[in-house]
């Protein structure tokens, strides 16, 4: 047990002669990493391009849960209902009314946020588990409504969604300029990333406002927050509205990228997937939410690659049983959620922090 002695935790050994990282180099490093990540879809296969788009869109929805769960400490099992609300608003405005993206994208967020305010009468009276069960009820009622309301949703068969048209150009059409080609997926990826960037900056800034501090207070102990004057019910409702707004914008982009929407896709499983994203990324970490979205979205594709090497995994879903890619991917992400919660509650964010700290310690000991 001697190893306990020579392993001082974390920041206790900063006094070494290693060069302190200035704000400038750290920012430059960040920019390089971000540019490198943004360039990935330019050189990847179509499958990975699609994954990149789905990851970026899901990350927007995951940011909503980041605000709700990570900042305000509330649990929502109904997130996919709000994604659907935004998606159907966008379909109604974009496809049925023929309005441009400048209208349907923000409106999708606003309408979904308004739907999110439906939990207000419950947020004031209920806490914790009861509130989580209410969000579950919202999900099931919404699922029923999507099936029934076929004027907008196309009923159980689903319907086509609106295209994204920017300056008269359908974003999913390939652009060819001389030797260069930008596929529809790549263009959509950059649009989604632009929206994601705005969403992420807004979420970060929100956490530093009075409202954000209020969220933190009710997360840490809602009774205490109420005693020191934080309007608990209003804060909870605001958190739900913001989360639903993010979900709505993600939903609008999602249906337009899919080019269709079916009521069956907005189920509990989708909600659990969004929750899994913020858990795997690390609850309370904004970058973690985005990393978690990439992780969860990429699992099926990674399993497909594994299936090429490992025998016994069928690549087509089978109704009769057996190990197939989609089922194995589900199993893996369930396992990832449980493993993260048990072994590293801070998720990918926590793991990367540990790695960075370890690398720095090593660098110092060599210097």
């Amino acid at each position: 047990m001697a190893s306990v002695v020579n392993a001082p935790p974390g920041e206790g050994v900063v006094a070494g002669p290693g060069p302190a990282r200035s704000g400038w180099t750290s920012r430059a490093a960040h920019i390089i990493v971000i540019v490198a990540l943004l360039a990935v879809p330019l050189v990847s296969t179509p499958q990975w391009q699609a994954i990149a788009v789905f990851a970026a869109v899901s990350a927007i929805a995951a940011l909503g849960l980041h605000v709700l769960t990570g900042l305000a400490g509330q649990v929502s099992l109904g997130h996919s209902a709000f994604v659907a609300a935004g998606g159907y608003t966008a379909i109604w405005l974009g496809a049925d009314k023929g309005l441009p993206i400048w209208v349907w994208l923000p409106t999708a967020g606003l309408v979904s946020a308004a739907v999110g305010l439906l939990v207000v009468p419950f947020a004031a009276r209920l806490r914790g588990l009861y509130l989580a069960v209410v969000t579950l009820a919202v999900l099931f009622v919404a699922e029923y409504l999507w099936d029934l309301w076929d004027g907008v949703t196309g009923g159980s068969k689903g319907r086509a969604a609106q295209p994204v048209v920017l300056f008269g150009h359908d974003l999913l059409d390939d652009v060819i300029a001389g030797p260069f080609m930008l596929t529809g997926d790549q263009q959509f990826f950059y649009l989604a990333c632009a929206v994601l960037a705005v969403a992420a900056i807004a979420a970060r800034n929100l956490s530093r406002t009075r409202t954000g501090r209020g969220f933190a207070a009710i997360r840490d102990r809602d009774l205490t927050a109420g005693v020191v004057g934080v309007p608990v019910a209003r804060m909870k409702s605001a958190a739900f509205a913001v989360a639903a707004g993010y979900a709505g914008i993600a939903g609008a982009l999602l249906v337009s990228y899919q080019t269709y929407a079916i009521p069956d896709q907005w189920d509990l499983m989708l909600s659990v997937e969004y929750l899994a994203m913020i858990i795997i990324g690390g609850v309370g970490s904004l970058r973690g939410a985005i990393a978690g979205a990439v992780f969860v979205t990429a699992i099926p594709q990674v399993v497909t690659l594994i299936a090429k090497v490992v025998p016994g995994i069928s690549t087509t879903p089978s109704a009769g049983g057996g190990v197939s890619v989609d089922v194995l991917a589900n199993c893996l992400y369930g396992l990832a959620v449980v493993a993260v919660l048990v072994f590293e509650p801070r998720g990918v964010a926590g793991i990367s922090e540990r790695v960075v700290a370890a690398v720095r310690r090593k660098g110092r000991s060599h210097a």
Binding site: L129, A132, F140, L223, V227, M269, G334, V338, V342
Partner: protein
């Protein structure tokens, strides 16, 4: 009128199943503070095990399922959920949802997503005629066995030392520890009982709509509104809540068929109503909390 009586009977049978599922949630919640979102999957897995073993004998199937599910529940508690004690609400919810996702995936690997045969076994498909009302034998069996199980549970809690220990542990964790009650043992027992209740519910749920399928998870989740309507934590609450949900589902599907699948959401709507009027459920009581 006959139709109404028949539907009411079926609703009560389904209500008994929901009461059993709800009790599975409550057992675990009271003893370890974990709200086990994987319980519906336990119910589904036990139904699949019994359905797979029915050709070899119904009794064997139930026996194997009982052993497997009690073991599975205890293993989940010992390996995963014990380590999460005292953490935030979302941690426990997500851990059990993660288990649920894994469980559904494993079932899909083992048995596929197509519906399987039913688990009725010796309960048979016949009907018992009382006047003009046809009561399916499965329903009669479900109500009888559920009532017996509930009575046994009640006696266990009220009349035995072990039941007393479990009640004390649920009432006040630290006071129970100070009395020398072994909390690990208490939790193992409660998770084991929850596993056993899951088997009973699985067999009945697989026999009553005569279908064992992955949809059972969503069906079993209907015990959640039942619990909220009744209020967490009391046996009477679970039974009353389960009965209301069973009746709502069956009467709703009988009389509101023209509105699509509205009966599926009726329990949730009822739950929202109860929560607006009585936030801690019909039988729950509001607890003051120390800051």
């Amino acid at each position: 009128m006959d139709n109404f009586l028949q539907l009411t009977f079926q609703g009560m049978a389904l209500g008994c199943v929901y009461a059993l599922i709800g009790l599975g949630f409550v057992m675990v919640f009271k003893s370890s503070g974990v709200f086990n979102f994987a319980h519906p999957v336990f119910v589904m897995i036990s139904a699949y095990i019994v359905a797979a073993l029915v050709p070899h004998g119904f009794g064997w199937g139930v026996l194997v399922a009982l052993v497997c599910m009690a073991a599975l529940a205890i293993v989940c508690e010992k390996i995963i959920l014990r380590r999460l004690a005292g953490r935030s609400l979302y941690v426990v919810i997500m851990a059990t949802l993660g288990l649920s996702v894994m469980g559904q995936a494993v079932v899909a690997m083992a048995w596929g997503v197509n519906p399987r045969g039913s688990t009725e076994g010796p309960m048979g498909r016949g009907v018992l005629r009382v006047g003009g009302v046809a009561l399916p034998w499965t329903g009669v069996w479900i109500i009888t066995v559920s009532l017996v199980l509930l009575a046994v549970l009640y006696l266990f809690f009220q009349r035995t030392r072990y039941g007393l220990a479990l009640r004390a542990a649920a009432d006040h964790h630290e006071a129970a520890l100070a009395q020398g009650i072994n909390m690990r043992w208490v939790q193992t027992i409660s998770w084991g009982i929850a596993g056993v209740l899951a088997v009973a519910a699985g067999v009945f749920l697989g026999a009553f709509p005569r279908r064992v399928s992955p949809d059972m998870v969503d069906t079993a989740l209907g015990a959640l509104p039942a619990l909220v309507i009744g209020g967490f934590g009391s046996l009477a609450g679970a039974v009353v809540g389960g009965m209301s949900v069973g009746l709502l589902l069956v009467l709703g599907s009988g009389y509101l068929a023209e509105y699509g699948g509205v009966h599926v959401v009726l329990p949730y709507v009822a739950m929202l109503l109860v929560l607006t009027l009585r936030p801690s459920g019909l039988f729950g009581h509001h607890e003051a909390e120390r800051i």
